[in-house]
């Protein structure tokens, strides 16, 4: 602690930086991270660990970075720009630098630091290390991978260290559904009741989204390649069809876990609106940015793409669940030392996060 007079002169007279302000603004929306997770990390389990983190650097990710640093980790952050709303990435990066975090700006997040723990998205950093820095790669003690596709890529890599697959918890699905609908309606000013919406994917988020669209008054047609999911969708009252049929009728097409690519374009109804959720992808060559982008299929046919195919900004409370899970996955790697190989996150981590969420809402579990 510096002497009080000095602190008063230096800290209090300068206003908090924009990044620092953005981080403190999302803090109340992250009660699980700020209470339960922070408490658990006071056990010193991350002390002395060198962590490299590569996540879209929005204010919530900034909050996680700050917490990991405060918990004793030596942190390097790849300042991947947040994908939508231009994000306060620069400001967050500056704020983290001021807190002693090393911030680098390469696309892969690769730096000279030699992490023993990696928090990765789409396996970008881990794969870059495997390819370009085999010695550093060999020192890794564990990776937390935050996406499904990234986990699949790491499995191919057959890593000599444990990889925990920290998919967003299922409790984030309703928030994802809300964000997709909210962004779609804000950008287009259209009405959802009466619309036929094609969903590319009926995983957890797809199911939440389908239920929300139907309850609002829209109709859903599910396009699935997985027979189990397609059958579930059908028994839950949704139409199930192939792309040729579904895309030609849909007013709105939303990718949720599956991918819409250029080869689908001829199938689309002219004037259709395309949007993306979560792991879904829209592979059209469009600049990302807020608003409705026209995409011309042929001289007389065009479709409209929301935010250039970027995912919508999710509610801050979703980030609380996701980032809490990531932080606890990190702690698990540091303390439990699981066997090498790609593995599911231990159920107790999900339970810890869910219990904290219930307690904060004053909800009771039954033990009968």
């Amino acid at each position: 602690m510096p002497p009080a007079s000095q602190a008063g002169r230096i800290a209090d007279s300068s206003p908090a930086s924009p990044g620092e302000q953005a981080i403190s603004l999302v803090s109340p929306d992250a009660p699980i991270l700020e209470s339960t997770v922070r408490d658990l990390l006071t056990d010193g389990s991350l002390s002395g660990h060198r962590i490299s983190m590569r996540l879209p650097l929005d204010a919530s990710a900034g909050l996680l970075a700050a917490l990991l640093t405060e918990s004793g980790a030596e942190l390097t952050v790849g300042a991947v720009p947040a994908t939508t709303s231009a994000g306060p990435a620069d400001g967050i990066a500056a704020a983290l630098s001021a807190r002693g975090v090393t911030v680098c700006r390469t696309r892969s997040g690769l730096t000279g630091s030699r992490p023993d723990l990696v928090i990765d998205e789409r396996a970008e950093l881990t794969r870059a290390m495997a390819a370009e820095r085999p010695e550093d790669f060999a020192r890794i003690r564990g990776v937390v991978e935050c996406t499904g596709p990234g986990t699949a890529l790491l499995r191919e890599l057959d890593p000599p260290f444990p990889v925990l697959s920290a998919d967003p918890p299922s409790a984030t699905h309703p928030g994802i559904a809300q964000a997709v609908i909210q962004t779609l309606l804000r950008r287009t000013n259209m009405v959802l009741p009466g619309k036929l919406v094609a969903l590319l994917g009926y995983g957890g988020a797809g199911r939440s989204l389908a239920a929300a669209i139907r309850a609002t008054g829209g109709r859903v047609v599910v396009l699935e390649a997985d027979p189990l999911l397609a059958l579930e969708a059908s028994l839950e009252g949704h139409r199930v069809d192939d792309a040729a049929e579904g895309l030609s009728r849909a007013d709105v097409v939303i990718t949720v876990g599956r991918r819409l690519s250029v080869r689908h374009l001829p199938l689309l109804k002219p004037g259709a609106v395309l949007a993306r959720a979560g792991d879904g992808e829209i592979e059209l060559d469009l600049p990302e940015g807020e608003g409705i982008m026209n995409f011309r299929i042929s001289p007389d046919r065009e479709v409209f793409v929301i935010d250039g195919g970027a995912p919508p900004p999710y509610p801050a409370e979703n980030a609380d669940l996701t980032l809490s899970t990531i932080a606890l996955a990190c702690r698990h790697l540091a303390t439990a030392g699981p066997e090498p190989g790609v593995r599911e996150l231990p159920r107790e981590i999900h339970e810890t996060v869910a219990r904290a969420g219930l307690t904060l809402r004053g909800l009771r579990l039954d033990s009968l």
């Binding site: 928030g175 559904a177 909210q182 000013n189 929300a212 669209i213 609002t216 008054g217 509610p315």
Partner: protein, 413 residues
């Protein structure tokens, strides 16, 4: 007549936004084609009082394409300057700028009346009343006026009962093509979305309280529930309360519901719905918004008096710290949250309402001379025409009553 607008140079942005809205307005376009074919509007002058934005701009264009001289006025607060510029460029006379004073707004309305209108389409009936007070001469050759709001019709009916109304006025607001869709689907959806945009709440798992289960309240409850909220309805009317109960919502007095509320909507259209006692009982940090709305639907004056601190968190979100130490957030200063803080009703819903307006213009030009001064309902056939045109545009076919059914219906006892 020359327009008075703020910035003619921003027309392109306005034209793009108007074109986007036009894509989703098939009923208005179809009614416009019908008006063009009749030739009824050729060389007629139509005055429009509008919230000047991309959707309403399409009404002006449709009337103009049908041959009318169109003059648009709009109070400064509701003007989108780029839309004004785009309309002006298309040859519509626009007397509206976002920086106009109250004096300018009045001057614009009088200029419009002095141009000699055949039909006046009003929003809130202020210009109809201004004409009666200041320009009675302008009413002499006017076929009539159309009014699209509940609150605008109220004073016109008072004038009618006193024998003061000099022209026929069509109650566009009371058409089924308007209130069955505008209120439930339009206002319901857009109020919930605006409240989520402003608050940043994830509504799944939250408790959403809806005061009033009329058309708007029904739409709000449905939309909030669809996104995962637990909805509690409060009512004074026993039938509405029973409807809410059978729609699957918990029904409780507002004061008790407030204790659990994360988000409260007032959808009664009645002042003093959310009173100070409710605001004091509210769960800490709850958000409160108005859907539809009249002044003081939330008791803001009382709330301000009872607060130790009032802070604007960001645009349209105000945080009140009560003397109890609890915090309550008011959205859009208690005004209709979807109009004040978002783009208003969805385009396809306004398509119906504006198609009704366009048909009202036609009806007045055709029959205004033979209608007595007073407030008239829109003829059933025109209302139904709008609904059928919309179904056509959507490619939805419906059945016809068969001869045998007609025979059954005609049989009586």
């Amino acid at each position: 007549m020359k327009s008075e607008i703020r910035d003619p140079s921003c027309w392109q942005l306005g034209a793009d936004r108007i074109a986007w809205a036009a894509r989703w307005m098939p009923a208005l376009q179809a009614v416009g084609d019908r008006l063009t074919d009749t030739g009824l509007l050729r060389d007629r002058t139509v005055g429009l009082v509008l919230t000047l934005e991309p959707k309403t701009a399409n009404l002006a264009l449709v009337l103009q394409e049908a041959g009318a001289r169109v003059i648009v006025v709009c109070p400064a607060a509701a003007v989108t300057d780029e839309v004004a510029a785009a309309l002006d460029r298309r040859g519509v006379t626009v007397l509206a700028r976002s920086d106009a004073s109250a004096y300018d707004d009045r001057r614009f309305a009088l200029r419009m009346l002095d141009a000699g209108l055949d039909v006046l389409v009003d929003d809130g009936s202020e210009v109809i009343r201004l004409a009666h007070a200041e320009r009675p001469g302008s009413l002499r050759n006017m076929a009539g006026a159309a009014e699209e709001t509940t609150s605008g019709l109220r004073p016109l009916r008072v004038m009618e009962s006193r024998g003061e109304l000099a022209i026929p006025c069509l109650a566009v607001n009371d058409a089924r093509s308007k209130y069955l869709f505008d209120n439930v689907y339009g206002t319901g959806q857009s109020c919930v979305m605006a409240a989520l945009d402003l608050s940043g709440l994830r509504i799944a798992g939250k408790v959403c309280v809806v005061a009033g289960y009329g058309w708007v309240g029904t739409g709000i409850a449905r939309c909030a529930h669809a996104l995962g909220a637990r909805v509690i309805v409060s009512e004074v009317n026993p039938f509405q309360a029973l409807r809410a109960h059978h729609d699957g919502f918990e029904v409780r007095p507002l004061i008790s519901a407030c204790e659990d509320a994360d988000l409260v909507f007032s959808a009664t259209g009645i002042a003093h719905t959310v009173a100070l006692e409710h605001l004091i009982a509210m769960k800490d940090c709850a958000f409160v918004a108005v859907g539809g709305g009249v002044p003081q639907e939330i008791a803001l004056a009382d709330l301000t008096d009872s607060s130790t601190e009032v802070v604007s968190v960001r645009k349209n979100v105000t945080r009140y710290t009560l003397h109890t130490g609890r915090v309550v957030h008011i959205l859009a200063d208690g005004e209709c949250v979807n109009c004040a803080a978002a783009e208003g009703n969805p385009i396809e819903i306004m398509d119906l309402s504006l198609a009704v307006q366009a048909l009202a213009v036609e009806h007045l030009l055709r029959h205004g001379a033979e209608m007595r001064p007073g407030v008239h309902p829109l003829p059933e056939a025109l209302d139904e025409h709008v609904a059928r045109v919309k179904l056509d545009a959507l490619g939805i076919r419906i059945d016809r009553t068969t001869d045998r059914q007609r025979e059954f219906l005609g049989r009586g006892l």
